[in-house]
Amino acid sequence: MTKDEIRATALRVLGDIAPEADLASLKRDVDLREQRDLDSMDILNFVVGLHAAFGVEIPEADYPRFATLDGGVEYLTARLAAGVRR
């Protein structure tokens, strides 16, 4: 799976959680919570959605990697490349 495909899937998951968010204008390197007023429940749902989409186990200690879209995509790219799936 390419980085662009991972990003597209992550955006779809985010869209499911916050359907009113304008994803087209999302800044990839800016904190998602600040950009889209997400809270800890949203972040948990985001991680659950990514887990379902990619089959990657994401420990709670790694949640900060998903503060930005770019950070999350980098993390997933590395985990998928290493073949780390649940």
């Binding site: 916050a18 359907p19 009113e20 968010a21 919570r33 007023d37 809270d39 800890s40 429940m41 948990l44 749902n45 991680v47 659950v48 887990h51 186990e57 994401i58 420990p59 709670e60 200690a61």
Partner: protein, 369 residues
């Protein structure tokens, strides 16, 4: 039309989920109504058969209006309505002197007002609602935009909060709680749980509040019709911010009786429905206390305003590292400020202090929550 908020005066019947002749049981969804809090599913409070549909889809009617009649399992027919809001005026008009004076001032005919006091008497709140409500049978509201929804929600919040500050003599307490054990336990617990079952820190707070209410039941009540009405179950309201602005505080039912895993699932479901629609009428009318947390916004202390007819609101700030004395040694600890704003007509600071003390103690034993 059930009263789903302190200052809700009317609602629009959007759709019927049951039709004449359908059998219903307590808790079934019978209709969908639009309110300032969004689309709400109206539950029935008796089991029986729908005998009459009285309000057509699209109609906006005042709270207290009978929407349908259900023939109860038994001999006598019964009206479907919020139990606290009798659908029809009592045969003999009962109204308090204060409410009568207010009715005169506002030009409200008491004969057109439904009393909500336990004996059916008309209260000041009933008169205020009647003065603000649109005429019965008003045409259906036109589809409203997001800006309009927001404006109406702000008006609703403004009315409820202004009434609270006007009528409720608040007292305020605060305490600092050592969160070291709770956060350490939570991190270890979440390592064991699959991602779909992980707990949020907030669910520990909710459970601790629910269990503390068992210990200090005076705070598990509502103030209605000039008196305290005790709740038999523990239904904790959770303040949920809505993305477009505004907030809603639906109940987590029986929060004290749910294990943390189940409570977390209920919490996730409740937040999702609060933001996307599908809250139930009982979830808006049942809370006796609200829990609000602004820790994620960086706030250290939250002193809330009680949402009538509830009797208290508990606030949690953000977790911060502070010097903390443990057995005479100064260490760095994660702590949180918990506050209580409560109705002094119902409880005193002594009971409020015991309540916050119980929350603190319960959070020191997270494995037992």
């Amino acid at each position: 039309m059930p009263i789903l908020g302190a200052d809700m005066t009317a609602g629009t019947l959007v759709a019927w989920r049951k039709q004449r002749g359908d059998a219903v049981k307590r808790g079934d969804i019978i209709a969908e109504v639009e309110t300032d809090k969004g689309l709400i599913d109206v539950e029935v409070f008796v089991s029986g058969v729908v005998e009459q549909i009285l309000v057509p889809p699209g109609a906006t009617v005042p709270t207290g209006t009978v929407l349908a009649r259900i023939r109860e399992e038994g001999p006598a027919p019964a009206a479907v309505s919020q139990p606290a809001a009798p659908a029809t005026a009592p045969a003999r008009l009962r109204i308090s002197p204060a409410a009568k004076r207010l009715a005169d001032e506002l030009g409200v005919d008491p004969a057109t007002v439904s009393g909500t006091a336990p004996d059916g008497a008309i209260t000041r709140e009933d008169v205020e609602r009647a003065a603000a409500r649109p005429a019965a049978g008003a045409p259906a509201a036109a589809p409203r935009g997001e800006a309009d929804r927001l404006m109406r929600m702000r008006q609703t919040i403004a009315a409820a909060m202004a009434r609270s500050k006007r009528e409720i003599p608040h007292y305020y307490l605060a305490t600092t709680i050592d969160m070291h054990r709770a956060m350490t336990w939570l991190a270890e617990e979440n390592l064991r749980r699959p991602v779909t079952e992980r707990l949020l820190y907030g669910v520990l707070l909710l459970k601790a509040v629910a269990l503390a209410l068992r210990e200090v039941p005076e705070l598990n009540a509502v103030w209605r019709g000039g008196q305290v009405v005790q709740s038999e179950a523990v239904h904790v309201g959770v303040a949920v911010s809505l993305r477009g602005g505004g907030l809603v505080a639906p109940a987590l039912h029986d929060a004290d009786r749910q294990g943390l895993g189940n409570l977390m699932r209920s919490f996730r479901d409740l937040v999702q429905r609060a933001r996307t629609g599908g809250l139930r009428s009982s979830e808006l009318s049942d809370p006796t206390i609200t829990v609000t947390s602004l820790g994620e916004q960086g706030v250290e202390s939250v002193f809330g305003i009680v949402y009538p007819p509830q009797v208290a609101i508990v606030g949690f700030g953000r977790i911060v590292e502070r010097p903390w004395s443990v057995d005479g040694t100064l260490v760095s600890r994660r702590v949180v400020t918990a506050t209580l704003s409560a109705d002094h007509r119902v409880t005193d600071g002594h009971r409020g202090g015991r309540f916050l003390g119980a929350v603190d103690r319960l959070l020191q034993e997270p494995g037992r929550l």
